[in-house]
C-alpha cells in the first residue's frame, strides 16, 4: 500500500481523539545545533479543519488493526474498516517532512493493540526514539500510553514524550464493562498512577537540580525528563447514559489523584456499522462545549464539580455554567469590585481571569468605575446585575433569578448554535 493511502486511513482512524495540543513542553531550540525543532511551552495551531478543530500535531495511529472490541471505537476488531499499518520509519518521515514545511509542531501517536500491549507500546516508543535520538527532533511528541503495558515501558515512553495519555473513555465501571469489555478501569488508573509518579519524581529532581545549580553555578540540568507536558485523558460523551455530574466528578478526581493536565471531552461521533446499544445520533456539540466550560471553571476558577451541579443531571444547555451558578447563588451578589477578594471577582459571570488580574492591578492605582469594565471588554450584558463599582449599582439586584434569567437569555433565543 502506498504511503499516501496509509496516511488517509490511519489519520481518519485517529481523529476520534480530541486532543491535539502542543503546549506545556519545556523550552527547546535547535539554533546552532544538529537536528530540527523547537518548543516554548505555547502550543501552535497550524491549521483548522472545517470542524473548527485545531491542527497542531500529526495525529495518526501506527496501525488500526486491533485485538480489542471496544464498541464505541471505529477500529474495534469487529468493525468492517480498511486496515493499514505504518512502519516506524514512515511515521518519522511524515513527521519530519510536515514539520519542515511548518504544517505541524509535532507528533501525536496512538495505536490499535496488535500482538500484545507490550509489543504495541514498544513499537510506539521506537518511533519516538528514532525521532529524538537519530534525528535530534526537538518538536512536540505525545504518545498514547497503553494501560496494560509493562510499567517499565511507560517509563521509557515518558523519557521521549512531552505528554502521555491513557484514555479513560467511559467514566463509570458499568459503562466500561458493557462497552469496552477488555478494558479495566483499575488498570487505567494504575497506569495513570505510574505516570504521575514518574512526572512527580522528574519534577522533584528538576527542583533539586535547580537548587544545586544555584549553589554550584552549574546551570546544566541533570535530571532525566519525564513527560514534562504532563498527562491527559479523554472521556466520550453521549455514548451511554452517564450524566454530566458523574463525568465532571470523575474529571475532578482525575485532576486531584493523578494531577492530569487536561481531561478532553469528545462528543460521541456516529461511526460506520454502529453496534447495537450505541446511540444513533451524536449528542449536541453544545453539551461537549458546556463540559469544557465547567472543566475550565474547575481547573482555573476554584469551582467544585458539586457546586456546578448539585444534583444528578446535565449542565444547562441554555446558559453557561458560571452564569448558572451565579443565578443559583444570588445571595453572594452583587460583588463590589473595589473590595471583593480576587477569587470572588473571578466568580462573576462575564468577567474572565485576565480581567480579574487587571481589575486588581487597577484598584491599586485608583477606584474602579463602570467604564473601566467597558474598556476591559468584559461582557457587560451578563455582568450588569452582579457587580458594584464606585459609580454603579445594579437596579435589578433584587429581581428574582427566574426573571433575571429570562432577561439574560431573551435577546439571543437561537443560542443553540455552536459556541
Amino acid at each position: 500500500m502506498e504511503l499516501i493511502d496509509k496516511l488517509s486511513i490511519l489519520a481518519d482512524a485517529a481523529k476520534y481523539d480530541a486532543s491535539c495540543a502542543s503546549s506545556g513542553a519545556p523550552k527547546r531550540s535547535s539554533r546552532g545545533k544538529e537536528g530540527l525543532g523547537s518548543s516554548n511551552g505555547m502550543g501552535i495551531c497550524h491549521s483548522f479543519t472545517p470542524d473548527g478543530r485545531c491542527v497542531s500535531l500529526l495525529k495518526v495511529l501506527l496501525t488500526n488493526f486491533c485485538l480489542f472490541d471496544c464498541q464505541y471505537c471505529v477500529n474495534r476488531r469487529s468493525s468492517n474498516v480498511p486496515r493499514a499499518r505504518f512502519t516506524p520509519e514512515e511515521v518519522v518521515r511524515l513527521t519530519l517532512s510536515f514539520y519542515r514545511r511548518n504544517t505541524i509542531s509535532g507528533l501525536f501517536l496512538s495505536s490499535g493493540i496488535i500482538r500484545s500491549s507490550d509489543y504495541t507500546m514498544e513499537q510506539m516508543i521506537q518511533v519516538a526514539k528514532l525521532l529524538r535520538e537519530t534525528h535530534q527532533f526537538r518538536g512536540y511528541i505525545h504518545l498514547k500510553a497503553i494501560p496494560e503495558a509493562d510499567p517499565k515501558l511507560l517509563e521509557e515512553a515518558g523519557r521521549y514524550a512531552d505528554r502521555l495519555s491513557a484514555n479513560i473513555e467511559l467514566p463509570t465501571l458499568t459503562s466500561l464493562k458493557t462497552l469496552a469489555p477488555e478494558k479495566e478501569l483499575g488498570t487505567i488508573h494504575a497506569a495513570m498512577g505510574h505516570m504521575r509518579q514518574g512526572i512527580d519524581a522528574a519534577n522533584d529532581d528538576a527542583r533539586q537540580d535547580a537548587r544545586q545549580s544555584v549553589r554550584s553555578g552549574n546551570s546544566k540540568r541533570q535530571a532525566p525528563r519525564y513527560a514534562p507536558g504532563g498527562q491527559s485523558t479523554q472521556m466520550i460523551v453521549g455514548a451511554d447514559a452517564t450524566d454530566d455530574r458523574t463525568i465532571l466528578k470523575s474529571a475532578q478526581r482525575l485532576y486531584r489523584d493523578f494531577r492530569l493536565k487536561r481531561v478532553y471531552y469528545s462528543a460521541f461521533s456516529p461511526i460506520p456499522e454502529r453496534p447495537a446499544g450505541l446511540p444513533q445520533a451524536a449528542p449536541p456539540l453544545l453539551r461537549e462545549h458546556r463540559l469544557y466550560q465547567a472543566d475550565f471553571l474547575i481547573r482555573s476558577y476554584g469551582f467544585q464539580a458539586e457546586e456546578l451541579l448539585n444534583a444528578p443531571g446535565n449542565l444547562d444547555l441554555e446558559i453557561d455554567p458560571k452564569l448558572a451558578w451565579a443565578l443559583a447563588h444570588r445571595d453572594d451578589f452583587p460583588v463590589d469590585l473595589n473590595r471583593a477578594e480576587p477569587a470572588m471577582i473571578a466568580r462573576v459571570p462575564g468577567i474572565g481571569l485576565r480581567s480579574v488580574q487587571r481589575l486588581v492591578d487597577l484598584r491599586r492605582l485608583r477606584r474602579i468605575r463602570y467604564l473601566d469594565l467597558v474598556a476591559l471588554r468584559c461582557r457587560l450584558d451578563t455582568l450588569r446585575p452582579f457587580v458594584i463599582t464606585q459609580d454603579y449599582r445594579p437596579t435589578d439586584a433584587c429581581q428574582d433569578s427566574t426573571r433575571l434569567r429570562q432577561s439574560l437569555t431573551a435577546p439571543q433565543p437561537a443560542q443553540m448554535a455552536l459556541w
Partner: protein
C-alpha cells in the same frame, strides 16, 4: 515629579522606527516638552512626505537646559510601548508616535494608570499589542515553507503577508525551529534569510526572494505534487483528519482568517470539504474515501494481523 520644567515651544520630530522614536522622545521629555507641543512625523506613514525632510528634531529643545533627572519607566511599560509601535495604523487610527509620547509623558510624571488596559490611552496600546501578538502567532502558525533545493542542498522558502511589523518575531522563531536547514522568508515589506547560523534581514525584500517565494506559494493542488510532493501528503492528511459530523465554519474562520487561506496548500480544499459535509457526508465521522475502501473485520481471538500468534491467553487482558 513637578520639578521637571515644562517647555511649550512647538517642535517637530521624525522617527522611522521605535528606536528613533525613543531617542527623540527621550530628548523631548528631558526638555519638558508636553505632548501637545510636538508634531510627529512617521516614516511608515505613506501620507508623510518624509524623504524630503531631515531625520531630526526641528526647533530642537536643546537650547533649553535639559532636566538632569534620568527618565525611568518599568520594563513592562517599555515592552508595551515597543510592541504597540509594531501595529500598522489605518487612516482612522490614532497615529502611533503621538500616542506613545502621550503615554510616556504621563508615565514619566508618575501617572502609572496611563499604561493600564482600562485607561483611555493605555487601552489603545494594549489593543495594538494584542493585535501584534496575534499576528506574530499567525506567522508562526500559517507560514508555509516550500522545499526548493539548490546546489548546496536542502533549502526552504516561504511567502507571508503580515498585517503588522512582525517579520523579526517570526524569523527568530523559525531560526530556533529549523536548526541547520536553510530558509528564506519574503514579505511585501522586508525579507529574512537563515543560512543555518546567521539571520540576514533585508528591507525592502530582494526582488529575487520575493518572486521565488510568491511563485512557490501560488502553486496549489495538482502542481504541488510536481514541485514539492510532500504538500500532497499534507493535503491528504488535512482531509482525513477532518470530522464531517462536526462541521463548524464559524470557529474555523475565527481562528484561521480567510486572508491566510490563499497561501496554505490546504486552503483551496476547505470549501469543497464543507460543501460535501453539508450534503450528506455529515452523518458519519469517517471520511468518505476511507469508507469506500474494502473493509476488514477481524475474527475474534485471532491474535495478530501481521502473522505473529503469541499469548493466546495474555492478550484479552494484556
Amino acid at each position: 515629579m513637578r520639578s521637571a520644567p515644562i517647555s511649550s515651544a512647538p517642535c517637530v520630530a521624525w522617527a522611522n522606527d521605535f528606536d528613533e522614536w525613543r531617542e527623540q522622545a527621550r530628548r523631548l521629555l528631558q526638555a519638558g516638552t508636553p505632548p501637545a507641543s510636538v508634531t510627529w512625523h512617521d516614516g511608515n506613514d505613506s501620507h508623510d512626505d518624509l524623504f524630503s525632510s531631515p531625520r531630526a528634531l526641528e526647533n530642537p529643545p536643546s537650547s533649553r537646559k535639559p532636566s538632569s533627572t534620568p527618565i525611568r519607566i518599568g520594563r513592562d511599560q517599555l515592552t508595551l510601548l515597543r510592541n504597540a509601535a509594531r501595529y500598522r495604523t489605518q487612516d482612522y487610527d490614532q497615529p502611533r508616535w503621538p500616542l506613545l509620547y502621550q503615554v510616556l509623558w504621563r508615565l514619566a510624571r508618575g501617572d502609572a494608570a496611563a499604561a493600564h488596559a482600562a485607561d483611555a490611552d493605555g487601552r489603545v496600546l494594549h489593543q495594538r499589542w494584542h493585535a501584534v501578538k496575534r499576528e506574530a502567532h499567525h506567522m508562526h502558525a500559517f507560514l508555509r515553507f516550500h522545499r526548493r533545493d539548490d546546489a548546496l542542498g536542502e533549502r526552504y522558502i516561504a511567502w507571508f503577508e503580515p498585517a503588522h511589523d512582525v517579520l523579526d518575531l517570526g524569523a527568530e522563531h523559525f531560526a530556533d525551529r529549523m536548526g541547520g536547514s536553510r530558509w528564506i522568508i519574503a514579505t511585501p515589506q522586508g525579507g529574512a534569510s537563515w543560512n543555518g547560523s546567521v539571520l540576514d534581514y533585508r528591507d525592502p525584500c530582494p526582488a529575487t526572494w520575493a518572486s521565488e517565494a510568491r511563485t512557490a506559494a501560488a502553486r496549489t493542488s495538482a502542481s504541488h505534487t510536481r514541485v514539492d510532493d510532500d504538500h500532497a501528503l499534507w493535503r491528504t492528511y488535512f482531509v482525513s483528519t477532518f470530522n464531517p459530523a462536526r462541521l463548524n465554519h464559524k470557529v474555523m474562520t475565527q481562528h484561521m482568517p480567510q486572508r491566510f487561506w490563499r497561501h496554505l496548500s490546504e486552503g483551496d480544499l476547505i470549501p469543497a470539504m464543507e460543501a460535501k459535509a453539508r450534503h450528506g457526508g455529515q452523518r458519519l465521522a469517517q471520511e468518505s474515501s476511507v469508507g469506500q475502501r474494502r473493509g476488514k473485520a477481524l475474527p475474534p481471538r485471532r491474535e495478530a494481523q501481521d502473522g505473529a500468534r503469541d499469548q493466546a491467553q495474555g492478550v484479552a487482558k494484556s
